[in-house]
Assembly symmetry: C2
Homo-oligomer: 228 residues x 2
């Protein structure tokens, strides 16, 4: 009776369901940037009450996808050339810092989750010039697991809140021009397993490259469609 091997059923409150639904819709662009999120309308569309929508929006504000002003409502943030550097800058601080802390310890590094994410990334990568949703998910998972390794709930939480914005930005991430997208992550994993003290630097460089590529792509897109 102990080895039934039952997985505990995942119970998601209405709020959480609304949250993921809204988040996906925003990241996918189904809800355009700058759009106002009206609680009553969303509640009708989602078949829930306003409270659930309200709480979900609150969380989206935390994640930086939505702006909120008292009595004035919630607007989907316009993430553009303005602040993609900050998302990646903050990630750089957190990820590099987490790995630095990790390397300071003597405990062995359990890289299994990283390997899995990397495998998923390899599998999901179709080279049509952009990243598939699966590849984006795998990329984010990789970096999340990276931070999780240092076993700091607070750093993990801080990093997780950046995930939504990262998803949004990765949709504008071109496949690496010359070098290899997967290979970059492989080198990261390899350095980590060798406990290379330069690993934090590698992560920083990796993120800076991504940021540059996204920036260039965003600039290109906004040039094509001037004020889309």
């Amino acid at each position: 009776m102990d080895s039934w091997r039952l997985r505990s059923v995942e119970r998601a409150s209405t709020t959480e369901q609304v949250l993921t639904e809204l988040r996906d819709a925003i990241v996918d662009g189904r809800i355009p940037q700058g759009e106002q999120l009206r609680e009553a309308h969303l509640a009708r569309q989602l078949g829930t009450g306003r409270s659930a929508v309200r709480e979900a929006i609150r969380q989206l504000v935390q994640e930086g996808l939505v702006d909120h002003e008292l009595h004035r409502g919630a607007l989907v943030r316009v993430i553009a050339l303005d602040d993609y550097p900050d998302v990646y800058g903050a990630r750089e601080v957190i990820e590099a810092g987490a790995v630095r802390r990790l390397l300071e310890r003597d405990e062995p590094i359990k890289t299994a989750p990283l390997r899995e994410a990397l495998q998923a990334l390899r599998k999901a990568l179709a080279s049509d010039g952009h990243l598939t949703d699966e590849a984006i998910a795998a990329d984010i998972k990789f970096h999340q697991e990276l931070v999780r390794l240092c076993d700091s709930p607070r750093l993990t939480r801080a990093h997780d809140t950046l995930a939504a914005e990262t998803r949004l930005l990765l949709r504008h991430h071109p496949i690496y021009p010359a070098t290899d997208y997967v290979g970059d992550h492989e080198r990261l994993l390899d350095a980590l397993e060798r406990r290379d003290p330069e690993t934090p630097e590698l992560i920083a460089q990796h993120l800076q490259l991504s940021a540059r590529l996204i920036g260039a792509e965003l600039a290109r897109e906004t040039e094509e469609r001037p004020v889309a």
Copy 2:
């Protein structure tokens, strides 16, 4: 009509008021750790409805002061020997990282807010062996401004989220045994103004020292009152 010099009136929603009230109560220990936060009771006590209390509790969960389980309610987290290292570890990563980023740039560093906070700290410091509430506030302000300098909304937000837990821990911070509490901050500020590349290291050491002192104090307290 432009020089009336009117300050815009601060409008705080009920939720925000409830939030600060609850947060203060928890940090001050008026609501003991491990206590269940019952929405209806709190609403009655505060003279508001349950919704406001609910939203406030959600925020407190974000700040790590409260644990929440679906259908099971919210408990004030027992912050003890378990995880004070993580609060300081996470702060170390964020603060040192922020300053590192700051130093990489060429822009001048506006240390005025830091000076102010430092001045407030000097003023508030009564050496009765513990920190006054004003001193705690000034200390936190100092470190918040430190992070704010690098102009990263996301790092600032991540750091601010840790403020409540920091407040909680600083109440167990003894005055430095030999060296000077204010002096340590002065050295930090000085190094920053000289753009000393060692500043991040200094911050790390400063935080590690604080963490150690708090840890020792917590150990002492729990020894005195074994299972208080």
